[in-house]
Every structure is written in C-alpha cells, then in structure tokens.
Symmetry: none
Subunit: 203 residues, 4 copies
Amino acid sequence: MTTLVREQAEELGQRGRGRPRDEVARKRILEAALELVEAQGFAATTTDAIAERAGASKATIYRWWPNKAAVLIEALREAVAQETPMPETGSLSEDIRIQLRNFVKLLTGRRGRIFKAFVAAAQNDPEVAETFRAVWIVPRRTIAKAALERHRGRDLREDADLDLLMDAIYGPLYFRLLAGHRPLTEKFTDALTEVVLEGIRKR
Amino acid sequence: MTTLVREQAEELGQRGRGRPRDEVARKRILEAALELVEAQGFAATTTDAIAERAGASKATIYRWWPNKAAVLIEALREAVAQETPMPETGSLSEDIRIQLRNFVKLLTGRRGRIFKAFVAAAQNDPEVAETFRAVWIVPRRTIAKAALERHRGRDLREDADLDLLMDAIYGPLYFRLLAGHRPLTEKFTDALTEVVLEGIRKR
Amino acid sequence: MTTLVREQAEELGQRGRGRPRDEVARKRILEAALELVEAQGFAATTTDAIAERAGASKATIYRWWPNKAAVLIEALREAVAQETPMPETGSLSEDIRIQLRNFVKLLTGRRGRIFKAFVAAAQNDPEVAETFRAVWIVPRRTIAKAALERHRGRDLREDADLDLLMDAIYGPLYFRLLAGHRPLTEKFTDALTEVVLEGIRKR
Amino acid sequence: MTTLVREQAEELGQRGRGRPRDEVARKRILEAALELVEAQGFAATTTDAIAERAGASKATIYRWWPNKAAVLIEALREAVAQETPMPETGSLSEDIRIQLRNFVKLLTGRRGRIFKAFVAAAQNDPEVAETFRAVWIVPRRTIAKAALERHRGRDLREDADLDLLMDAIYGPLYFRLLAGHRPLTEKFTDALTEVVLEGIRKR
DNA sequence: ATCTAATCGAGACGGTACGTCGAGTCTTCCC
DNA sequence: GGGAAGACTCGACGTACCGTCTCGATTAGAT
C-alpha cells in the first residue's frame, strides 16, 4: 500500500518537495467509499461514484491506491480501527458472551454490509483476501486469543485449542451473516456460546 | 426461471409446437459454466467464454437465462443435485464425523471454488443469495437435521436445538473456506466435531 | 428465383407429390413485406416482422426466397406489374408529359417509399441492384423508348439519343425523390419536360 | 452534433478544464470510417472495425457520436469540405461542362462509393438524409447557382429557373450512379450538357 | 383407405454487430 | 508536485436481426 510508505516517510519528517497530500480529500474518499459499499455493496460501488461523492477526481484515487479494492480495504480499516476491544470481566463465559454480542451488533448494524462485501470480494481477488485477513481477521483473533489465554488452566482446559475455539464461535456468526438462512440474533449468540463453552470448559 | 415453466409444461404433455429446446446445448452450457467458474471464479467467467466453450451462441444463453448469474446458479443446482446424502451408522458422533468429512472433501476439492464464488456473488445479488439458500443450504440442512433427529433422546439431548447445531458445525467450515486464515483439514473437522458434540451430547 | 422454376413446372402440369405451395401464404407474405417497407423502409423491415404480419413462419419465407432482399424484390415486382403503360396521343410532348405525370404520381404516392428503399438497398447489395434494374428500370425504359421511337424523324431529331433522353427526364425525378432537397411537383415535371424537349426537338 | 457545441466553446476561449479531446484520434476515426465505407459500403462498415483501424476504442467513438451513421456523416463532411469550386471561364457551356466533368470524376472515383452509400443510408435514416442535404447537396447547388446567375440575360434566358436547371444536369448523373443501368462517362456528360443547354440557352 | 412426400407455423439455434458501462490510465490546466 | 476535470483503451455486457434448423401438424397425390 502506497499509503504506508508515505505515512512512514511523513513520520520521519521527510516531506517531499511539492504540495503535500490533501488529507481532507483522503478522508472524503474513504468516507464516500464506505457509504457507497454500505448502500450498494462492493461490486455496485464504482470508482466514478466514489470520486463524485467525495468531490475528488479519479486520478487522485488511483494516485494513492492501486485499485478499487484497496480503497475499500483502507476504508474498512479506518472504520474498524476504533472497535471495542476484548472485555475482561474475569469470567470466561462472560468474556465470550460480551465479545460475541458486541460482534453481532457490529455485523447486524450499518457496517455489516461491508463485511459481507469484503468476504465476497475476497473470493475473487487474492489481494483483498490477504488484506482482509491481515486487517480484520487476524488482529481480532490475536487479541481474543490473548484474552482467553488468561483463562487457560482455570475455566479453560489446559490443552484447549484456541484457534479451533475461535472458529467455533466466530464461524457460525459469519455463516449466518453470509448465508442468511436464519437471522443473527442475540439469542442465537448466547446459545452458541453455551454449547461451545460446554465443549471447551474445564471440568 | 424460464426452465421451470417449460419443464412443468412438458410434464403436462403440452410440448409446444416449435423446435424444442436443445437439451444437449443446455447441458453443454451449464457444464462449460461450471468448469469456467471452477477455473477462474465467478467474475472472470464471461458469457462469451461460456458460449464459445459450449459451442453455443450467446443468444441461446440469453434466451434461457436472464443474465450470467442465472446460468451459474442453474449450473450449481445441477452439479449439486447428486451429492452424497447423510450417512446413517447408528452412532451420532460417527454420523456427524462422516458427514463433515464428506463435506470438507467437497469444499476443498475441485468444486470448492464454486461455493466460494457463489457465496461471493450472493452478497452482491439478492437473487443469487435466495437461490443459493434454496438450492444448497436449506436442502442439506433439512436432510441433516432429519438424520440427527433420530438421535434425539438417545445420544442427543432432548431439548437440543438442531438449527443451532447445524450452524455450529457447518459455520466454522464455511468460515475457514471463505476467510482462508487457516486450512480446512480433516484434523480440524474431527476436533470441531468433538467440541460441538461435547456441548450437545446427552449426559 | 425458385418460384420461377416452380411456376414453370406447374404450368407444365408436373405437380409434385407432396402438399403444394400455399399461394395464399405467398400473397400474404408479399403484401406484408410491401406494407412494412412502405411504413418503415428497407432496413427496418425484419423477416420476423414480415412473418408475423403475414401469419407465416420464417421457414416458409426462406424456403421460397433466398434472403430478405429477394422477398422485397418480388413484392416490388408484383406491386409494379399493373402499372400504366406508355400513353400514345400522337404528340411527342403530350406523350412525355403524361408519362412523367403518371410516374411522379407513383413516386410521390404510397409506393414512393418502396422505390427509395430499393435504390438504397441496391447500393449495398449487387443482387438487389441487378434485380431492380431488370424488374423496374429496364422494362420501363424499353417501353418508353419504343414509344418515343415512333416520333423519330418527326417531332424528334433523326439522331436523337433515346438513352440520354430517358436519363435526362427520369434522372431529375429520381434525384428529387431521393435527395429530397425540393418537392417533386407536377409543375416541376412539366417545366422539366419543356426544357428537355426544347433540347431534343426537331427544328 | 456534440462536436459543434465544443467547437463553438473553443472559439469562445472556454476550453474546459479536463483533458481535451484527442483531435488526432478524431481524425483517425473519421479517416478510418471513410476508408471502410469506400471499401465495403455503409452497412458492412462496423464500429468495431472503425475503432480497430483508427487505433481507437469503441467507447471513444460513442462518446462523440451517437451512432455509426453520425460518424460516417461527419466523415463525409470532412471529405467533402475541400472540393473544387465552380469554374468561371466566361462561357456558360464551358462552365457547365467543366463543372460536370469534375463532378463525374468525383463520383466515379474512389469517393463515388461514399455517395452511393450515403444516398442509400439517407433513405433509412431521416437524420442522415437531412445532413446529406445540408452538407453536400445544398452547398454545391448554392455555389453553382451563383456561378450560373452571372450568365443570366447573356447566354442564359432572362427567366431561366436555376433550380430546375440544377436538377436537370445533376439528376441524370446521380441517376446513372445509383441505378447503374448505364456507365457514367464523359461522353454522356457532354451530350447531356448540350441537350440541357439547348433547352435553356438564350436565343 | 392408407401411405408418402412436401408444406406449413412455431420457434430454437449459431453468428455477428450494436451500443453501454466500468476499471484503470493519461493529459490538460490550476493552485 | 498535487488535484479536479474529463478523455482515453480495454473488454464484458445484454440486445437485435439474419438465415438455418427441427419439431409436430397438414395436405394432397400415389398405392
């Protein structure tokens, strides 16, 4: 991502000679992108539409991002940055329950569409897939695993496979979001938590 | 789907007077579509390519299907029709294990790409979404639930929520397939089975 | 033209064994063709439309005519068959005047569109061109020339070039019809007659 | 015509802010169109072929012209722009003879095909018809009539109808070009001139 | 009274051109 | 040198028409 290189350069105080990047335009582009994806999905969001809504030009977009996917990816990253971190109540089941409730609230809210869009786009574009994993999936897993790790040997079995646990609780949520065969309710989340915990709890 | 209307008409003996639809061409089109999706994904599969590979003309495709998505949907439906049904070994855990192994084999095999493609396409196209559910998700769930139902009160808790169970075991598999953060191995499947069963088993 | 062969065969009483050609359908097809050309021009007249309007099938059309142009050509031939022949008043100028007036009435009438259509089609299709000449241009010229021939040495100069004369009087009429820069009136026709006669008359 | 609006804007110095139209591409497109029409006629000239030969894209063509006909019309206009004007020898018959010889040379030359194509296309498309008249027929007539006007009262009768005269000399030429029943030779042209002049000359 | 061959209406088929739309690039002027 | 405007290439989309074909149903002369 060009942006990363540039950000690093700017942190080091090495500003180029010409006019610096218009940060306002950057924000407007990312916002426009996000809104359009929310409203219409990934494929129906055109770069022309983003440019127009942002009051920017396509050239500006393509100067800073290599393609449409990259814009939307960064938009996602920004949107996701300030997400509620893992709770720490002391109780394993309570931690998980709260975490999942927050997560479901996110998915079923205005932003849910974006995640659907990204999972979709990831199937056709390896780069999107990689970024989606790096920006969204992996960080959340890392934090969540670290939080659960503290319960190991207490509520959690000594030999519990946390990767498996992660998939066991997040997988069904994504599944309902994407397949849409059943609604993604809090009741479902709670019941799921119970089942999985029953299988992983220390006895 | 136009095809349905026509099939019904034929069942009623109302064959229509003109030249009948070329069933061979229909098959070739669906096969070509399937192969191309497997090879290149949903978006990269063009109608021109389908037509050429099927030895058909684009006009024929658009006479019978309203758009590219519809062709691929029907191709999926055909491909999926003859899938392995639910096993019945007498043991709950064995039933689930075998079922999941078969399923994983399907997803990781040649056809897996198709499912990824469809889940992706479904996010951008409500019709694809509905068809995907009706053709793939729901029928499999119905069969699997019926099979598990026989264990209720025996290995399975009296009050077990089968819809929840379905999502608990299929969700993580789809998740790994789609997110791709970890491989979809048999080891994972077996471990997952165990965890979920532990949570749902009658004690 | 297949029709010719067949007509000859029928005149000789050699009817085939199968179902004979449906003459009613033939008439309806030619009529439909004519009406459509009049209404919409040559290019906009589709074979499907002809078939539908005639209550015939495209197969029937293509069984009897090699292509769309041939249908329209024969339609023209039929329409033109019963045209007013050359008048014979005894006076050269009167003969020409009457002949041209009739001709202009034809061109500016409902059928005028057809001639425009054919001249147009002839530019893109040598076969149409040839047929148009053979069916329309040449016969009329032959009759008209024969009629004028009787005036040679009397009102008409001994050395008058009748081919030239033909073009000199018909050319401007077609020109106005096709180019449409000025209306094709009787006044124009009469004036034209006068000018040309002045140039060709015996003095 | 979009081009006209733009040209006016440029004349007013309102150059617009974006990338300007690629005039080279425009020229190449029109040239390609002309060459293809000359080689294959109006109908057989495809937009894809024009685009390929011009090294342009179809999108560019359709950005500036609403359809194929419009491209060819403008191509004709450009081609026709620098045609030989009316000669002025002082002699009426010489003026006409030279003018007609030049005209016949044009029609029977490489460009003749284009005129045939346009007269044809004009019959199916009113817009083509109007443009053909405005761009080709009318300007030539205006110039030619002005040139002949100078002879009025001298070689030319006081009451000569120049519109009639125009049609009387140009009509037969177009007629032979379009109907093709006889070749369009210089001999014919000269003889025609003589006949018409005989009818119009002052005596 | 069948049998046989050609015709008919209906309509699907392969091919080919059309005109449209989106992605990503490039070019101009302005700041 | 960045940015807005907007033209450009490429390539897929879905539509329309041509001329061909394949059905079942008709219609006569031949047997």
